[in-house]
């Protein structure tokens, strides 16, 4: 370290005059500033678990100094956006599988944050079509370095594809890829946290206690980039960076307070400190707003209302759920500042708790204590989709996507009863790696367990067949299903391909993953509608109210492929070489042979003492050559044995084996 000179007066004389401009803050009309919000949504789930959903939003204007000078917005992300001309991007790291049956599939949280296991990345680029692939490749490498993950494996053209209809309509410039087997851990979370201005030093992110987050049932960390336009001027657009972390946790059961019902039926009571092991010490001072929400679902509200009406005392009081936490079902430890109610009749309720600035004395610890056992169900996806493999063996198989109707579809039928032909749209996106050779002509559709003609139900179809070692196969279907459908099954057959020995992963025997299929329902809207719309909208609320299609992912399939013996090349080389050597040696010997002379010598030696050994050898050799040559006259037979077709046959056989071996190895 070199110290600056003691004669500290620097002799740089800069222009003083120009600089007396007022700071740039003066022209900050709100549009020009970078903003940051932090929010947390908590929701009890029917299967005694708790969903916690962290939402951080960072916005920066897309001005000249974007990607160069930043105050809150992460510089690294801004530079990515600028360098690769990203219009929109989403990257998610997920561990565990979202349980659509129990945790719901018809709400904004699940359709935005339920992601396939591993890494999923899609990006829309603002570049000419021929540069999109190059940008994608660079982006995967940059992200891989940024998030300490093997996203760079998405660089290979066999791993990504360009779907048309499933995501936002960005024709040609969208790329989509997944890595189903990527393990997600703290090394991915830390760089993600680094993008937040407060990191996990203060504010809601301080709750993220690594052990409790990673022992969750479902863990999905997401980064979503979009460009939002504000006003008519296209130059006024802002870059919006959403970072969400969705965790499904099992709260530790707090003992005590429940003496009249057996604990097994009760929902576990929990608090922030019991599920995360920490309390909120204060907001991140840089955040524009910092809120915690507690969502009570539609089903639970209905149940509680039923319960309330059956309990006489409360009915007399006329209290409802708006009266904070003083209802039959549960009690809240902190009174909310605001209660948001959905417009519809049986609607979900949202309690809002703004977080104050840090004070040593008070810590925020929201808790919920259940007083009465309640059983409810979450809103389900219109069609519950599952995917499985059929067939056995290492040669061929079939993929089936099975969609079963749930109560949402029944509601739809009820709602549209007047309409005679009620249909709804289902988009299916299925991407298969090239070594699963799908025969698209074998695509079959069963509606209500009866085989149907595809064209009756498929409105549009986009297939790009896989090319060996170049691109994966992609199939996009737009189905129009009748509302009263009970089940729909898509079935497609495939052959398992062979990989080159270098292409197998280290754990080849485990099998190969087929990425999740995406089933989306554009006719259904997952957004919630809250009554007091006029009030200030935080990003979380606007996200919950956003009209967005319902999306669900199917399971990842594990396909076992034939795995070779990896020492095979050496064995083949060695055996081939040995066979060749044998063949060559015997050929040479045969060519050099002088039959007449040998016989003469044999005859000469016949009378001698050591003939015994020779005789034995001769016998052995004669036996070896075939039983036919039993005649005691070897002189006549030996010459004929040379010409005999047997020898030729034998030599040919050896040569044939050798050639065959060489050919197949």
């Amino acid at each position: 370290m070199a110290l600056l000179s003691r004669k500290g007066t620097l002799f740089l004389l800069f222009l003083f005059s120009i600089f007396l401009l007022s700071a740039s803050a003066s022209n900050g009309s709100g549009e020009e500033e970078e903003e940051f919000w932090e929010e947390l949504l908590l929701k009890p789930l029917p299967d005694r678990k708790v969903l916690s959903h962290f939402h951080f939003q960072n916005e920066a204007p897309l001005s000249d100094s974007f990607a160069r000078h930043h105050h809150l917005f992460p510089k690294s992300i801004a530079q990515l956006v600028k360098k690769f001309h990203i219009k929109a991007m989403e990257l998610s790291f997920t561990q565990g599988r979202w349980n659509y049956e129990r945790w719901g599939g018809f709400d904004p949280i699940s359709s935005h944050n339920a992601k396939p296991p591993g890494v999923e990345l899609w990006a829309v680029f603002d570049v000419p079509p021929h540069q999109v692939d190059a940008s994608w490749k660079d982006l995967t490498h940059a992200l891989s370095g940024l998030f300490c993950a093997s996203i760079n494996f998405l660089e290979s053209s066999t791993t990504y594809s360009a779907p048309k209809w499933t995501f936002q309509s960005a024709l040609g410039s969208l790329r989509y890829g997944t890595l189903p087997r990527e393990a997600v851990c703290t090394e991915n979370l830390t760089p993600w946290l680094k993008l937040l201005p407060c990191r996990d030093k203060a504010g809601l992110s301080a709750l993220m206690d690594r052990p409790s987050i990673y022992k969750s049932f479902y863990h999905s960390q997401r980064l979503h980039l979009t460009q939002a336009k504000t006003g008519a001027n296209p130059k006024n657009s802002r870059v919006v960076l959403e970072q969400t972390l969705t965790v499904v946790l099992q709260p530790n059961i707090l003992t005590g307070g429940t003496n009249y019902v057996s604990e097994a039926k009760m929902q576990p009571s929990w608090s922030l400190s019991s599920i995360f092991g920490r309390k909120i010490n204060g907001r991140c001072v840089l955040a524009k707003s910092s809120n915690v929400y507690l969502q009570v679902e539609r089903g639970l509200v209905t149940q509680l209302e039923n319960l309330q009406s059956s309990t006489a005392t409360f009915a007399a009081n006329g209290t409802n759920l708006d009266d904070f936490g003083r209802n039959v079902g549960f009690e809240l430890s902190v009174n909310p500042d605001r209660v948001l109610k959905e417009v519809e009749k049986s609607s979900s309720i949202l309690y809002e708790y703004p977080i104050k600035v840090h004070k040593d004395s008070e810590q925020f610890d929201l808790g919920i204590t259940w007083k009465h056992p309640v059983i409810w169900s979450t809103p389900h996806v219109p069609l519950y989709a599952s995917r499985f493999l059929m067939g056995s063996g290492n040669e061929r198989g079939a993929i089936a996507i099975c969609m079963k109707s749930t109560e949402s579809t029944q509601e739809l039928v009820a709602a549209n009863y007047v309409d005679q032909r009620c249909n709804f749209q289902v988009n299916v996106l299925q991407i298969v790696p090239w070594y699963i050779k799908v025969y698209y002509h074998t695509l079959q559709l069963f509606v209500d367990e009866k085989p149907q003609i595809l064209t009756d139900f498929v409105e549009r179809m986009h297939v790009s067949p896989s090319e060996d070692k170049v691109s994966p196969g992609l199939m996009e279907l737009v189905l129009k299903l009748p509302c009263e459908v009970k089940s729909a099954v898509l079935n497609i057959e495939f052959d398992k391909g062979f990989l080159h020995i270098d292409e197998y992963p280290p754990d080849a025997n485990q099998g190969f993953d087929i990425p999740s299929a995406i089933i989306s329902f554009p006719d259904f809207n997952a957004g919630l509608q809250f009554s007091d719309n006029s009030l200030s909208k935080t990003p979380m609320l606007s996200k919950l109210q956003e009209r967005s299609p319902v999306i669900s992912y199917t399971e990842v399939l594990l396909v076992p492929l034939t795995t070779p013996d990896f020492s095979m090349p050496y064995n083949v080389i060695t055996i081939t070489c040995t066979v060749f050597a044998l063949y060559f040696g015997s050929l040479l010997n045969a060519l050099r042979r002088r039959v007449g002379e040998e016989e003469r010598r044999l005859n000469d030696k016949g009378g001698k003492k050591d003939a015994l050994l020779n005789r034995v050898l001769g016998k052995l050799s004669s036996k070896f050559r075939g039983r036919s040559s039993v005649s005691s006259q070897p002189s006549s037979s030996s010459s004929s044995s040379l010409i005999s077709p047997k020898l030729i046959l034998r030599v040919l056989l050896v040569a044939g084996i050798a050639v065959a071996w060489q050919y197949y190895s």
């Binding site: 070199a2 003691r6 620097l10 800069f14 030093k201 203060a202 040696g585 002088r594």
Partner: protein
Amino acid sequence: MEEISNFPLNPEPPEEESPQSQMHESTPDRKTMRTTKPGIKRLILSLTVLFSFIIGFPFLWKSIEIYRAPLPFDRIESFSSQLESDPLHFPCRFQAIFVGFDFSASRGLGPNDVAAAITRKMSQLNPNSSRCGNCIGGDYDVSVVIDSGSSCAQTEGSEAKCPLKCGEVVFGGKLSDEDFDEMLKRCLGNVGGGGKGYSVVVFNGDKEEGEVRAVVGKYRHAWVLGHVSEDEAVSRTAEIFARVFMNAGSEGNSIRSEFMPVGADGRIVLSFSLLNAEPQDWIYDWSFHEIDKTLLHPVIQALQPIANITVESQVLYYTPKSSFSYWDDIHGSHIFSTKDLPFFLNSNEWHLDTSVAAGGRSKVLQLVVYIPSAKECPLQLELPNGDLSKTNGFISPMWGGVVVWNPESCVKDLESKDPDRRVISPQNLQKLFEVLMGQLRQLLGLKSDNLYVGQSGAYILLGSERGFTEWELDVLSGKHVCFNLHSCATTLGSLSRLVQSLPRMIIIDEIGKQVKFSLEAAKFAQSYASTGIYNASAVSSRQARSLVEDAFFHPSIMSISYYSFEHCFAIYSPFFLPVTMHVILAALREWKRYKQENRKYLAWKAKERIVS
């Protein structure tokens, strides 16, 4: 296959049979004699196989050979040795103008003698002039103009106008240093066409004028004003030439010239970070946009020939320093000493991430402004001698610099709920950036002082609003070319050593090409430098360096695919070992047999002859 099917048709055995039956009658001794010439079919066959093996061997060897692009090892060797023995030099011209002196009258010296005296003095002052990037050592191109008022003499080949036209102006009015500098620039112009021309003007004043004032301007001029003797004038001139213009006032105590924080692609990213150690206390922001426009832009423009500079900035929060500081009553502040500096940077919490936009091999220089928390405010750096540092900052060579900036009032507003958000005032920011620019100058190997004290007096160094004066930039770009060529030579050397030490490593054509082009670019850089075409030299040297770095970090080298000989042996030996044994044995046996049989035949022949 064909040979086999032909084999039984081979008429030899019957042939052999018949003479033998004949021999039975004529000569009973079959073991020692034979009547026919021995057959050579089998011999030819086995020898053909053997020879075809021998001939085929080179083809096999060729087919399993590893492709290695030829690298010019000898040229690499000669390039680095040449750079070692004959460092790069730029031609410089020095011009000394003495106004109001009369050397011929007082000493009897002509302008040529004065020039020789200056050269001598310069060599004394600058003994290690052979350093790379310097002016051509030994014989400096010094021209002298002596204007004694009445007469004017000059060395041959001098381009300056004689007598100096602007002499009267100097003594006429009191000019500020800046104006004087401009005036000199106007009337001297740029000395010399190619290369760098430096000039020193010595004005001999009256005795009453008092102190001698020596100023080095921001262009390539310096002047000495006041009453000086002839000897002093000569020595001062020589000192300005040798010490200031050629070495930028550094005497080797600052950063070594080998370190030039420029990336291999010729780029520097200046990454400014404002660190709020504890945002709960106060949050400071800056209007970096304005600074970028007004202060940094001219600097970047000035440094254009040396490096392509980009600027970016960010504000980070919750970034405590990792060293401790203590309260000192005497200074009334928290103190961290120079011993703590290695621990000041907190790499766990300071996410001064490397720029994504820079990519590749750009050099990122971190310039950090640290705002202490209320607990440790004000925070001052104590120098080893007990004084407080005026700049309150330090640099770490090749990494960047840190400045601690204390808010005006260290009292935290306890009443307000929200932490106060403040913006660093433009005046403060201006001061801060002067310190940061000084740090940048030091990182580049220049002095951050405006005074140079030499043997024969002090010299005021005029600053430029661009941060770097022209003569400083000359020194820097000389250093830059040198640094590039040196690192190019070192990288080439290591590349050639690596390649030679691994004889079975694949070297693709591209690497060979890159090495070739790099050597060519280096040659160009040298030739441009010797003719004094500066920018071209800088460009070529940068190119040479980046090309060789490209070659060295080529992915195919990074993943050294080393196909070992053992591997090759293991694959081919199962075939070749048994087969060659067969072939050689067969050939040997046949040869032996042929000789034996031939001897028999000869014996029979001899016998026949005797018989006949």
